[in-house]
């Protein structure tokens, strides 16, 4: 009966419980916190719930659902070759778990962020921006937050590549953050993705104090003229023109902006409803599942439980606040120039986080003056902010990538 006893001893030794590290326990608690926030307060549940639960799963020791490291040390010249990399990882660390396949084949190859952008394009109505193109500038101004956060991160000792990935959190754009971080600093992907999605949920908390500090009551009460109607033809031409203009000026932003605009063309053309619906629903849902699971699987104790992660979370607030400030300040300039016909608050919507920040602006306007409807005006900077962040990511990629 020693064979059996041996087997039992061996089984206990390979039991996850006895291999649980303090780091694992903390990460499991972090995952549970994300689940709690997602379920109880509905903070971006579509992403924080999958991220949270897969963070729990990958931190159960020896579970074989994620066997490969997130930022492995590779032989010379292999880093750029994803197919050589996965074959090497398989040789070194054994067969891939499901989450390794999701991370290396779908996230690291940028397939998932780009398909999310494709779906977002199919969901987005750029009408408010087409009706009032000058609001696009407010979407540009909000990107100042990206660079302020980046400089602060450099000042805190992060490398430029890490700092850029942290700064882009201020773009309030989940897929762009994941796209850039995967390319520049994959070891902090978990932290930047969680920061981006968490703060997007907290926009109604972060923005109002900043807006109030920078505007007077009179400014917040400014009413704006109704937007002109936009024809179907303009809506169809917009994604094509935007893709060409941005693609020619900032080629590194072309994949992101290109997929966004292809999705938008599918939506506005009106002749491919099957595909537009698929981009928004079937494909989007499946891709979102893989995005959440893949990002969550990067939240391992060794790369996540560092002082850096706390700094990244703090820098995220800096990024969001300074982005809001940038938008509002340009809003004030435009208010002056236009002779008071522009409400500076709509600049705050330039951080994107669509449509949360536009709704914040609307709510603050209603509080001062219940008859003031700014939502559609705030939507212009709001969608422009998505494009602006993609362009900013393109510049960072072209300089640092």
């Amino acid at each position: 009966m020693t064979g059996l006893e041996g087997a039992i001893v061996e089984f206990f030794e390979s039991m996850g419980l006895l291999n649980l590290s303090v780091g694992n326990v903390i990460m499991i608690l972090v995952g549970l916190t994300l689940i709690y926030l997602a379920v109880r307060y509905e903070m971006e549940p579509l992403l924080l719930l999958p991220i949270g639960i897969s963070a729990v799963l990958v931190n159960l020791p020896l579970s074989h659902i994620a066997n490969w490291p997130i930022a492995p040390t590779l032989p010379e010249g292999m880093e750029e070759n994803i197919f050589a990399t996965i074959s090497y990882l398989n040789q070194q660390y054994g067969p891939p778990g499901l989450f390794d396949l999701i991370y290396y084949l779908l996230i690291k190859t940028e397939v998932v962020p780009l398909l999310i952008f494709f779906g977002l394009g199919a969901m987005t109505d750029f009408g408010p921006m087409i009706a009032d193109p000058k609001t696009a500038l407010l979407g540009a101004a909000a990107q100042i937050g990206v660079f302020i956060a980046m400089l602060t991160a450099v000042a805190l000792g992060f490398t430029l590549k890490e700092a850029a990935s942290i700064g882009i959190i201020g773009g309030a754009d989940g897929p762009t953050t994941i796209y850039l971080t995967t390319k520049l600093a994959p070891h902090i992907l978990g932290a930047t993705a969680v920061a981006a999605y968490s703060y997007m949920s907290l926009v109604p908390l972060i923005q109002p104090p900043v807006i109030k500090a920078l505007t007077s009551r009179e400014e917040r009460r400014i009413r704006m003229e109704q937007l002109r109607p936009v024809s179907k033809r303009e809506k169809v031409i917009f994604p094509i023109v935007a893709m060409i203009v941005i693609g020619l000026l900032v080629p590194t932003a072309a994949p992101l902006v290109g997929m966004l605009m292809i999705g938008n063309l599918f939506r506005e053309s009106g002749v491919v409803e099957r595909l537009s619906k698929a981009a928004q629903e079937e494909l989007m849902n499946i891709v979102t599942i893989f995005l959440g699971l893949g990002v969550g699987s990067t939240m391992r104790a060794d790369s996540f439980l560092t002082a850096q992660t706390l700094e990244i979370l703090a820098l995220g607030v800096v990024a969001f606040a300074s982005a809001t400030a940038g938008g509002v300040l340009l809003g004030k300039v435009m208010m002056k120039v236009s002779g008071g016909r522009i409400n500076p608050m709509i600049g705050a919507a330039g951080v994107s986080a669509v449509p949360m920040s536009a709704r914040v602006v609307q709510r603050m306007a209603s509080e001062e003056d219940p008859g003031n409807f700014l939502l559609m005006h705030a939507m212009g900077p709001n969608v422009a902010g998505v494009i602006g962040t993609a362009v900013a990511a393109g510049v960072l990629l072209s300089v640092l990538g």
Binding site: E42, E44, L47, T124, L202, L205, K212, P355, M356, R363
Partner: protein
Amino acid sequence: MVSVSEFVEGLNITVLGVTVVFAVLTILALVLYFVGWLERRLVEKETPAPTPTPVFTEAKPEEKPVIPPRDLAVITAAILAYTAEKAAQLRPLPFRRKVSDSWRLYGLQTQMEDVEDFNYEIGKW
């Protein structure tokens, strides 16, 4: 420019290809005639007995509840009118409808009202 041998090979392929396509579809057609003949024989055999899947075709009419046809006509017309009315109401406003739909989902954020309410409450700004 054109190699003659290539053209001849092309001709050979053509003869082979046309023959095979016709042969295959002819054989398929013959098989289908045979299947159809089998089917008719089977049906003939089955007809004295109740048909194998009569439930689907026969059961339905019996399920039909007996209500006066005039009443049914009135109600049906009314419902159709209502549906048409509803469809007509929706059609002229595809823009608005799409907007609300899309913004709700954009940024992967659902049910943000509740989130905001929560945030506004605990924020008390």
